[in-house]
Amino acid sequence: MKPPPFDYVAAATVDEALEALADTSVETRPLAGGQSLVPMLNFRLAVPERLVDLNGIDELSRIEETEDGGLRLGAMVRHRQLEHDPFIARRMPLLSEATPFIAHPQIRSRGTVGGSVAHADPAAELPAVLLTLGARVRIARRSLGGEPGSRVERTVGLGEFFLGPFFSALEPDELLTAIEMPPSAPGEGTAFDEVARRRGDYALAGVAARVRLNSGGVCDEAAISLVNGGATPCLMREAARTLVGQEPTPEVIEATAAACAATSEPAADMHASEAYRRHLIQVLTRRVVSRAADRVLT
């Protein structure tokens, strides 16, 4: 279980990283926290010719407010930062709540937001959570034929980013540079929960929810997304609609949970059957949506 040989480039700036990625004649992969990539190398499930290490790029580690009052997380923001940053706890408590479910402290001190999203694992927590928060992905590459240092950037809604298991809209010469989220509106409550075999394992199923209630207690907006509920991290638009315009009574929430389970497309594996996953999605949706609604009211 030793990694195959590769060339190594330690990038100090985004441009250096883009420069290395631009040369597509050599199969190159960004190395972020390495907590998914290095196990794949050790099992020789991935055999890239070159790694571009992003760990030395300071500009990617920032947590900052966007122009519209939202939040921007640099790609190299560590899980551990998300978990402990008081600013995040205040602005996006869902992130602080969900992050401790990712693996263990020793993994979270390396693992990154960008890595979790780029990896596009339907079983990962952060993609689902970020979907619920309406996140966008900022992507950069070196402009074709342009001078070194000239970039082309694009922004993709997270809903359009995930294309399949471990498969995203990122091109081989592209770098995910940041995740952006709109500001949370007044009257919003969020919650996350999952069922995993052991503490820190990938979840059998997980649910993230965000609901906004108006002053009359009626739901104006809802977003629910699933961990391990389909081939990609997925937003359950149809199920969320069953909440909108309603008061979140137990009956309404149960109907939402049932809709969520019915429209989910979980896969079977050695840890859970499809039926079990669907059932867990229903139970968790009920619990999580209730908790999110309760949080608005209290």
């Binding site: 279980m1 030793k2 040989p5 099992f43 075999r197 052991r198 503490r199 050695m270 079990y276 139970v283």
Partner: protein
């Protein structure tokens, strides 16, 4: 007996070995790196069954940094099947087909991970690069995957030269079960299954060999639980004398059974070192470990219990299938343990037990902590629970009615145990163990009230309480040599190695009591054949019993020598002397004393004359072999909470009452129990090897094979009962496996109890249980399918293929 006068035996002595381990200085095999060492990786088969038509290693051989690539064709006389390590006991009517593996595959692949070629290179990294270049032309064959179908007439054959996949057939009986059954008020039968898992030592295996051509000597560091027998086999295979070969099992990072096996790597690595004239090192990685290291478990039981209306056992009948994997080098130890341990601490006048062992295209099965005993306990305890349910007796009550009383011991069960002697229980107090556990878990009153309150709050809580016995401390023998050195330090050498059991301390305690030193003064050396080369190894919970008593005897002899020399030196009668504080002193006149170091010097005179027959030094070697194994026992109680919506189970409380005879060090004994329980929890709820329909292992990683972690294992309460064994002077019994043995049975009973109202009649018959399996059971139950299998539980079921 030493306990009476002793101050150290029985005390919580912190361990001598800890400082080295805690500071990272303790040497494990992987830490050994002789200068110039070459590194090995194996090219292994991805397929579980196939014919090796050709092997092209040309590009691996020329890969930069590669020193050699060896295949079966290169092995010469080494290319012969390995030894049968444990022959089966001489049972009447026994059928046993021994089939063992070649060190490297010649033509037939029988399990995934069998080694095709050995690559020796300047680093493990390069060796792995080259292993990937070995091209094997393999004709895939249909694998035997499903144990239930392995003995079917249409099953593919694992070994072509055998008429079927039957590896062994054993039948043992006691009394007349058919007659008992005819008299019974209740006959209950069920099919149980218990699936496969790994040993899971955190340290993988490793072998480092250094052939010194100048000195004509071979030195091998090996993560083995049995350095002496392995040394002997390796010497014989390589044409060396045993004295030329030194095996060292330094600190070993957990054994749990699989490291007792003899493996091909243990011969290939030394052989390569001799061939290449360089030290050679192989460290198994975790992926290899899932195939190349032995495993345990799969069994399918069709069992039946016959009882009176009052719940008294009239007899038990069991027919089971045991999965041996692709070969059976370890004989029948595991299924015989199952067969014998099933009887538990109970009065079972009639017993009919029959098993068939099947070859399958899976990794080899040898003992893993518990070594088949847990299967027997699971079957018996489940039968009692379900019978109790039919008869309106709670689990404790039906056990009360059947445990052997203290006056019924020793008890002979009349069938033969794995140590080739009749299954006899030497001593114990089974009633007390059961009652103590029931009392501690408040079984009769407080707990039921709590359970009701919890149920009213929508919380499903349940308790499980089960018994077990464990045959431990079997022969043949072990030895120990104690030497008082001129500096006053005491050295103890013994053949059994240590994989964390605290031998450096518990053995030192035994010596300390005998000769009046502290355990810290005793330097224990284990697992080095140059220090001690008689013995068999650490297995079957026998270290503290067999080696412990040998050491006890050696310590008594050294004590005699010390007293004799001291009496001469001080010119007093030996009877007036006492040994304390590292010296011999006159009772009542502590100023009149001589320290042990000085006596050691005078016991080894460099000039002058000695009496004829005098042995030099303060040294003694003794051996101990028990007449038969001593039986430990205990009762486990567990309290669980089940979330019926998610099928997740949380263990709220775990309690162990156990009797391992004289306790040398309660701290160490409790540690053994804690670890055993954790492994048992793994067996019960987390660990299962999953094979796909093509026989490929689907979860060969710690990501998907789930060992329990700190948040899955609860705090574990322990209570000791000490019924000293009459079979050895210290009165000890083994404790290494007891923690693991009854956990699944207790767990199943507790989960059923928790769900008694939500899912009345739910039966857990298959281990491991998992949330997914529990969910399926609950669902099936709601839909009216008992046991998740079929509707009618009382009707006779289809027997497993091959089981009559």
């Amino acid at each position: 007996m030493s306990r009476a006068g002793g101050t150290w035996v029985g005390a919580r002595v912190p361990r001598n070995e800890d400082v080295r381990l805690l500071t990272g200085r303790a040497q494990f095999v992987e830490d050994v790196e002789p200068p110039g060492a070459l590194h090995v990786a194996f090219a292994r088969s991805d397929l579980p069954a196939g014919r090796l038509r050709g092997l092209d290693a040309a590009s691996a051989r020329t890969h930069p940094g590669v020193h050699a690539v060896f295949t079966a064709a290169d092995l010469g006389p080494l290319l012969r099947p390995g030894a049968v390590l444990v022959p089966p006991p001489p049972l009447e009517g026994l059928v046993f087909h021994a089939r063992t593996a070649l060190p490297l595959v010649r033509d037939r692949i029988r399990h995934q991970g069998e080694a095709l070629a050995m690559i020796v290179a300047e680093s493990r990294y390069v060796a792995e690069d080259a292993a990937a270049l070995v091209e094997a032309d393999i004709e895939p064959l249909d694998p035997v995957v499903d144990l239930g179908r392995a003995l079917g007439a249409d099953a593919p054959r694992v070994h072509d030269d055998l008429p079927s996949n039957l590896a062994a057939h054993v039948r043992q009986t006691k009394g007349d079960y058919a007659a008992a059954r005819a008299r019974a008020d209740l006959v209950l039968e069920r099919r149980f299954s218990y699936d496969r898992g790994i040993g899971g030592a955190i340290e993988n295996r490793a072998v480092v060999a250094e052939w010194d051509a100048g000195a004509d000597r071979l030195r091998v560091w090996d993560t083995t639980q049995a350095p002496i027998p392995v040394r002997n086999v390796v010497a014989a295979s390589l044409g060396l004398s045993e004295a030329q070969v030194r095996f060292i099992a330094p600190f070993v990072g957990g054994g749990f059974g699989p490291k007792i096996m003899f493996y091909a790597e243990e011969i290939l690595i030394p052989w390569a070192s001799m061939r290449l004239g360089r030290p050679v090192k192989w460290v198994e990685d975790r992926y290899e470990n899932f195939f190349a290291t032995t495993q345990e478990r799969s069994q399918l039981h069709d069992a039946e219990i016959a009882l009176t209306r009052e719940g008294r056992i009239l007899g038990v009948r069991d027919a089971f299938l045991h999965d041996s994997g692709a070969y059976d080098p370890y004989g029948l130890t595991v299924p015989i343990n199952t067969q014998c341990t099933l009887l538990g601490p109970y009065r079972v006048p009639n017993y009919e037990s029959e098993f068939r062992v099947a070859f399958t295209n899976k990794p080899i099965v040898t003992p893993v902590r518990g070594a088949g005993r847990q299967h027997g306990v699971f079957v018996m305890e489940r039968l009692l629970d379900l019978a109790g349910r039919e008869l309106g007796l709670d689990p404790v009550e039906i056990r009360r009615r059947n445990v052997l009383g203290p006056d019924e011991l020793p008890h002979n069960h009349e069938i033969m145990y794995q140590d080739f002697t009749p299954l006899r229980y030497d001593s114990g107090n089974y009633e007390r163990s059961l009652e103590e556990a029931a009392r501690l878990v408040c079984y009769d009153e407080t707990f039921p009230r709590g359970r009701e309150r919890a149920r009213a709050d929508g919380c499903a809580i349940g308790v499980g309480l089960v018994n077990y016995v464990e045959g431990t401390g079997i022969g043949p023998y072990e030895g120990g040599r104690i030497t008082v050195e001129p500096g006053g330090t005491v050295r103890l050498a013994t053949g059994v190695g240590t994989q964390g059991q605290g031998h450096f301390t518990s053995f030192a305690q035994i010596v300390a009591d005998a000769i009046g030193v502290t355990p810290a003064d005793v330097r224990v050396v284990t697992g080095d054949t140059s220090e001690f080369h008689w013995g068999t190894g650490t297995f079957a919970s026998r270290g503290a019993v067999v080696a412990g008593n040998a050491i006890h005897a050696a310590a008594r002899s050294v004590r005699e020598k010390i007293l004799r020399h001291a009496a001469e030196a001080l010119e007093v009668d030996p009877a007036d002397l006492e040994l304390a504080g590292g010296s011999a002193r006159v009772r009542g006149a502590p100023d009149l004393s001589v320290d042990l170091g000085a006596l050691a010097v005078s016991a080894n005179p460099l000039r002058g004359a000695v009496e004829p027959g005098t042995e030099p030094g303060l040294e003694a070697t003794s051996y101990f072999g028990p007449p038969y194994g001593t039986t430990a026992n205990g009762t486990h109680a567990v309290v669980v909470a089940v979330d019926p919506e998610t099928a997740m189970v949380e263990i709220l409380r775990y309690l162990v009452v156990h009797d391992c005879g004289t306790v040398i060090n309660p701290m160490i004994v409790e540690g053994q129990i804690h670890g055993g329980v954790a492994a048992g929890i793994g067996n019960a709820f987390y660990e299962e090897l999953v094979f796909d329909e093509f026989g490929g292992m689907s979860n060969a990683s710690f990501m998907d094979y789930l060992l329990p972690t700190a948040t899955d294992v609860p705090p574990i309460e322990t209570a000791h009962i000490e019924t000293p064994s009459p079979l050895n002077p210290l009165g000890t019994k083994g404790v290494g496996e007891g923690g693991a043995i009854p956990v699944a049975a207790a767990f199943a009973q507790a989960v059923e109890d928790a769900l008694a109202q939500i899912a009345p009649g739910l039966e857990i018959l298959d281990i491991p249980l998992s949330p997914a399996r529990l969910f399926a059971l609950l669902r099936a139950q709601r839909e009216g399918v008992v046991g998740g299998r079929e509707a009618d539980s009382s009707s006779r079921r289809e027997p497993a293929a091959g089981v009559p």
